[in-house]
Amino acid sequence: MMNYSSGPLHRPEPDPPAVRAQDLTVVRGSRAVLRNLGFTVPRGQITGLLGPSGCGKSTLMRSIVGTQAKVTGTLDVLGRPAGHPSLRARIGYVTQAPSVYDDLTVRQNLEYFAAILHPGRAAAGLRRESVTRAIADVDLTSHADALAGNLSGGQRSRVSLAVALLGTPELLVLDEPTVGLDPVLRRDLWQLFHDIAAERGTTLLVSSHVMDEAERCHRLLLMRAGELLADDTPDALRDRTGADTVEAAFLHLVDAAIAAGRTEETTS
């Protein structure tokens, strides 16, 4: 269908994990939005970041991308501390609200962002190719010359996703990429995510508050109220909690966490 690179990256030495966090804490205002998180995100897989809205998913993603202030603890991304200048070209980031220029066409949007990633006249051919590929990836070829502002909400978020695919990043951080999309589009996007992981060796960190999407991930990070409830595969989660679905497993873990909190209160 498309020209993907062949297979995952082969390197002589084992790569550091895509993300490694230890005692990660983020303060916004006077409130700690993330408290002492510790986890690793392996390379070349899709890791789902799940939890109710307001639990700190976006803050965690912004910390990984390096746009969040007041981050303490250890947070290494692709072997470098998060926010390191050399990481900017290696990470693709899609915010929850589509961040594209409404008064430019789809192609003009992508051409501009491509010019930031690969500046100069020498890279013109490369830019044209990566723009065309990114538009095809998100299935917007027929809308390439439409103004982004005239597209539907789902189409605009796909333009935003296409921008993140431009430079063939090693790590893709996607904040609720499927919210508000119809079932067919959601299925197609998840297919695209799996293709990207399998064929380009890209690591994907995808957040969602819809639990049925969890089943499509290789690994899961379950969050609640700024804390990590679980860091496991969907199968292991279901086995451990004896639940049929990830949703049931999540609810089980939440109840257990609340119960643990109560006993702590009574004992102290």
């Binding site: 290696r90 915010t95 220029y101 501009y112 990633l117």
Partner: protein, 263 residues
């Protein structure tokens, strides 16, 4: 279909530098392309100053001397005001739409953003100033002793100053409502004190002292130098340097308000 590695897959993106000419030009081109999709804004930016000058000419129909002095001052003030408004709204939109955060998470220098905007709006300012100056000199009989090129130079620097102030102020506005209100807050005091309504040495000493540190005073002063003298006077050179210096200073401050990490 093909299993060959696509050329984009292996190509590392060029690293971030404080200022990169290609990225700056790409940014300027993008800002102008956005404007091209909004012809009404372009028309307003270019025609409103001309209309105001035209109006002013016939308001002072009986006293052409007054028109000369006020008209020349306004040739410097119009570009400042329009560029201030357009830039503050445009950058605010960039901040609120999330595109700025995205750009700063990419290998783009802050200087590229600022210089790109300054270049794009500076280009527009040249067209605007050329139209207004041409209209004033050749159709409205504005009587200028010095060269029209010097008028244009001051107008351009004023436009840059307006762009710089707009960029800077947009950092303190949370909405378009606030951004528009910064116009009277930042521009009107300068307008009152710049010597447009009454010579600055006639003002209360405190106000005169304040007007001495406001950049618009020098913009208007520079225009009046061109109005009265055939050649470049020392005062003119001082005025031009001060306006240019202020523009660069505020552009630098504007760059400092662009934060890669936000709360």
């Amino acid at each position: 279909m093909s299993t060959s590695t696509s050329p984009t897959a292996g190509a590392p993106a060029a690293p971030t530098r404080a200022l990169n000419l290609s990225r700056t030009l790409a940014t300027a081109g993008r800002v102008l392309r956005q404007l091209r999709h909004d012809p009404r804004t372009i028309a307003l930016m270019l025609l409103v100053p001309c209309l105001m000058l035209f109006l002013l000419r016939y308001v002072f129909d009986g006293s052409p001397r007054t028109f000369d002095s006020i008209g020349a001052s306004l040739l410097g003030i119009f570009p400042l005001i329009t560029m201030f408004l357009v830039t503050s709204i445009a950058t605010l939109r960039e901040r609120t739409s999330g595109t700025l955060e995205r750009l700063l998470a990419m290998p783009l220098g802050k200087g590229d953003v600022i210089a790109g905007y300054a270049l794009a709006f500076g280009t527009l300012a040249i067209v605007q100033s050329a139209l207004a100056t041409g209209l004033a000199l050749w159709f409205l009989d504005l009587d200028v002793t010095g060269s029209a090129w010097l008028l244009l130079l001051v107008a351009l620097l004023d436009a840059l100053l307006g762009t710089a102030l707009g960029l800077f102020v947009s950092a303190f506005a949370a909405s378009e409502f606030q951004a528009v209100q910064f116009m009277p807050a930042v521009i009107f005091p300068q307008l009152l004190l710049c010597g447009l309504f009454t010579p600055r040495d006639n003002m209360h000493p405190v106000l005169e002292a304040i007007s001495d540190v406001l950049p618009m005073s020098y913009a208007v002063d520079g225009m009046n130098e061109v109005l009265r003298h055939t050649d470049m006077t020392a005062t003119f050179v001082r005025d031009v340097l001060i306006v240019a210096g202020c523009a660069l200073l505020v552009l630098g401050l504007g760059a400092a308000t662009l934060r890669r990490r936000t709360a």
